[in-house]
Symmetry: none
Subunit: 117 residues, 2 copies
DNA sequence: ACAAGTTGCTAATTATATCAAGCAATATTA
DNA sequence: TAATATTGCTTGATATAATTAGCAACTTGT
């Protein structure tokens, strides 16, 4: 239950694309070679170092724990789940306008949901 | 700054001795070879895997962050780091569907932004 | 159409984490 | 004292993380 379908590679690729960065841009920002990044995103690496995982989590604003979970290193505990904030949204990920737009959109979503019920 | 006097090896050895365990006992409990444990405690390993670090932290009841810090992987605890980042949305806050909808909407926003440029 | 750049990727190589075997020193017990 | 475990450790072998160099498919600009 609560099977985390997302692989490590899948998460990393999704996060990178969300930021609209190429592998070579991430290489510059993280110091990790684009070749290796490609392997990571295609799930060809089984046990990345804590270093690597940390750098990418930092860059993509994914919590380290979340990466550890999808890398199969730890299992999601409810304790951690409470602490976890979702990787997709963080303050340096979003411009003011985007943040406001998303908040508005969230309100809209919930407004709809309420009606549907 | 914030020189952490303690090395990774130092911490691991101290923790093990506190529990009065031999390297071979830790080997059995953790699945990490005593040879490698010895190298770890003597600071001969530069970048242990997230796996290894996690297992030992678990066994010794050392927080993972603490080990990461003494391994030189992070400077401050990631707990601290997470506080520095203001997250607009937490996972407690969002259902899976909402999350996905917001991600899609964010992609849409950025697609527009790109054209405007 | 062509040149120049960008993209993600792979094969080959290097670096290093990790393990298996065994050694010397100390502890234990007969 | 001798025999036997138990200790931490080193060396050599293996697995795999991570890099360098380069290739083919696309874009972009001229």
């Amino acid at each position: 239950m609560a099977e985390n379908e997302k692989t490590l590679g899948g998460m990393l690729r999704e996060a990178r694309e969300l930021k609209k960065l190429s592998l070579r841009e991430v290489e510059v920002k993280s110091g990790i070679s684009n070749a290796y990044l490609s392997q990571l995103e295609n799930d060809k690496i089984k046990k990345p170092s804590a270093n690597t995982l940390y750098k990418l989590g930092d860059l993509y604003n994914i919590t380290f724990d979340e990466l550890m979970v999808s890398a199969g290193i730890i299992e999601q505990s409810s304790e951690q789940r409470n602490k976890n904030v979702h990787y997709a949204f963080s303050s340096d990920n979003l411009s003011q306008e985007e943040e406001q737009a998303l908040i508005d959109y969230l309100k809209f979503l919930r407004y709809q949901q309420k009606d549907a019920k």
